[in-house]
Symmetry: C2
Subunit: 420 residues, 2 copies
């Protein structure tokens, strides 16, 4: 029935983020200020922040992580933007991208010309097991968490199914994590700014300092195979297959297309956007693909009138390494069952033909859940503007895509951006 077309176009004219990591003793609102200030300074021609007309905030569960709900007006007030309307959007780990989509629709509706979209999460205040429980509330709790499923377990089920269905080599998971640490080491905002080799050397040095036996890992892959260094969390997924517990914030500024050049020399136009929902894992027909991701991608490609081959820069939701492989297939970059081979062949590294997660991805950059989707846009902003430094994708990328998953795919949002 729908025309599936926006009333008017929308562009990104500013983007900033805090470093992702652990902010002990720093309030969430202050982390948000870091991202906000970087966004302000990223707007090429400057602007008066009071021209921002509305604010959307992606936040997964301030409620459970820190006992603070109603986060949108709080962040808005703290950066001096009250009384602007402030709305929190929650779609689990896809909250940031869902917030971006609401900001886009708000501008497209004609009601606002300039909207700020932020994402924020502070996860590190809870002990690890309570973080795991909190994340599990994004599953279908009655059918999944209540019978013992955690997110590592749900994704492990997908990994197992993938290995079984496609005869994939389980080594590939280690390689995806390794690759994302290689990328993240080039990203000053990444939580883990270290290559696996550096982590390994640091472990050796630490043992030496303490007078303990120095482990004899001969290379990074021996390190990754050692259960003392890289224990199984939920077979076949190990520690270095899992994104970390993170604090962080990210902010982007949206304006109507016709105003883009007033604020930015190199604006990014949102040329495609898709979102879909799905049943929870226990009630799904497949474990080797996220149907919501395929659907969201199709919508976004159709709106953008492009094919997967036209995409130059890609940030996908690698909450676990298996998720990146599945995403690379769901987005149409590789055929079903072929994504693992591409990963194993190095195709998805910065030196390959289809670089994925140049930022380091959720694995290495960090995964403050409500901020992650907006953080992906920040990476696309840098890549398409040629400002990504050492991790710059070669060939002057012009089209970028973000893929953000809530739960195990009960929500998926895909957004596509273009530098013209």
């Amino acid at each position: 029935m729908s025309q599936r077309k926006l009333g008017r176009g929308v562009a990104v004219v500013g983007a900033g983020m805090s470093k992702f990591g652990c902010y002990n003793g720093m309030a969430t609102r202050d982390i948000f200020v870091e991202a906000y200030r970087e966004m302000l300074s990223s707007v090429d021609r400057g602007f008066d922040p009071h021209d921002i007309e509305a604010v959307y905030i992606g936040n997964y569960s301030g409620d459970l992580f820190e006992g603070q709900a109603h986060m949108a007006p709080l962040m808005t007030d703290w950066v001096g933007l009250a009384p602007r309307p402030a709305t929190r959007v929650e779609d689990a780990c896809a909250s940031g991208s869902a917030a971006l989509r609401q900001g886009m629709l708000a501008v497209a509706s004609g009601l606002y010309d300039m909207v700020m979209v932020g994402g924020v999460e502070k996860m590190s205040e809870l002990p690890t097991e309570r973080v795991t429980d909190t994340l599990a509330t994004a599953s279908d709790v009655i059918y999944e968490a209540a019978v013992g499923f955690t997110f590592p377990a749900l994704y492990a089920a997908m990994a197992t199914a993938y290995l079984h269905e496609y005869g994939a080599d389980p080594e590939v998971f280690l390689q995806v994590g390794y690759k994302n640490h290689e990328h993240g080491a080039l990203n000053p905002k990444a939580q883990f700014g270290q290559r696996i080799q550096e982590i390994m050397e640091a472990r050796k040095a630490s043992a030496a300092r303490k007078g303990l036996p120095i482990p004899e890992w001969k290379d990074e892959f021996e390190f990754l195979h050692d259960p003392r260094a890289n224990p199984y969390i939920a077979w076949p997924l190990r520690l270095y297959d899992c994104s970390p517990i993170s604090d962080g914030a990210a902010v982007v500024l949206l304006v109507s297309e016709d105003l883009a050049r007033r604020f930015s020399d190199v604006p990014l136009y949102i040329i495609g956007s898709g979102q879909a929902s799905d049943a929870a894992t226990h009630d799904r027909s497949t474990l080797t693909s996220l149907p919501a991701a395929r659907r969201a991608a199709r919508q976004a490609y159709e709106m953008a009138r492009i094919t997967p081959q036209d995409v130059d820069a890609v940030e996908v939701h690698d909450c676990f390494t298996i998720a990146e492989i599945i995403a690379s297939e769901d987005l149409g970059f590789f055929a079903p069952g072929e994504g693992w081979k591409a990963a194993e062949d190095g195709v998805t590294s910065l030196k390959g033909n289809r670089p994925i997660n140049s930022s380091g991805g959720l694995k290495s950059k960090g995964h403050p859940v409500g901020a992650s989707g907006v953080g992906q846009v920040v990476e696309i902003w840098h890549q398409l503007r040629g400002e990504a430094g050492e991790r710059q994708i070669p060939g002057s990328p012009a089209i970028g895509l973000t893929h953000n998953v809530g739960g195990t795919g009960q929500t998926c949002v895909v957004n596509i951006f273009e530098r013209r």
Copy 2:
């Protein structure tokens, strides 16, 4: 900068709600189904639910109330609407109205022609003190909840300031609660379908059955003055000044204006909408008005090109009785400091000139927080269509307004509807 005008108009063509109350042993998703089914049957000319293109869900904190976040795709799947995009919107107790506003913007953007907006909350599973704590996370926790403020206490501070500033008679609070029970007794969906007199008689009968001394209340106001029947919660607010702990759901169906008559003989057009944010109570210049409410109301009136006098039916956010009095001033129905006199004179009852909360309001209809804003629209739907039965506002009301507050006014959303 903004044109403050929607790209295209939006209309409500269906509305339904569950009874508000306590649903022991019933899952939240099943309460939602009740509201959904009533919405379906309210669409005059019928329709195929699969034409619904997107779903917005207002929910305050499934996270804390029941350990279930990521509520939007869950509700969407349970009513058979997956894979439609499903997004949760949270602005504390204004979540429902904020969700309605996002649904409106999504249709106005041109992307969707038909959007469903729901609100849902299940609060009764937690013990009362944990409900109070959960609600307090909608305050600025660092500055308010952490030092002992609960929502009854915050609104009691406003009530105290109001009494002091305007020399108001504290008796007026009892009268507002009394009036809303009179209205709620006429609403089959209300949690408390009883007039205060009926509650008093029931208490006497219960004492008689148990062989206890029968209290000698000579009328309802003696009952309301008796601290055994109506104890102080936070002075000057007593039990019957406070909205209850509730479970419930409400759902409305939105379409683009040009399609309204295809689905409904009597659609309601959304002619005005406003939303504003504010600092939390501790950092605000006034306690006798909600600046965000005044601002949201001004935006909505300007968009609708009407004045307060043009409004026929009004649902306001009476989480506490003082809130209704302040709302009646913030919305421009009465001058500052005059609202209490109007309430005392009966002006705001169904028999008065400015009936407020014909549904019984949050006090008597119930306040399942994320559902309340959508529930207000359901009442306006019935009133403007002349379907409100015994509580029908006389004179064939044509314009209705909803006023929904998050926190103590960190969020306020005002929406205005018209039957043409």
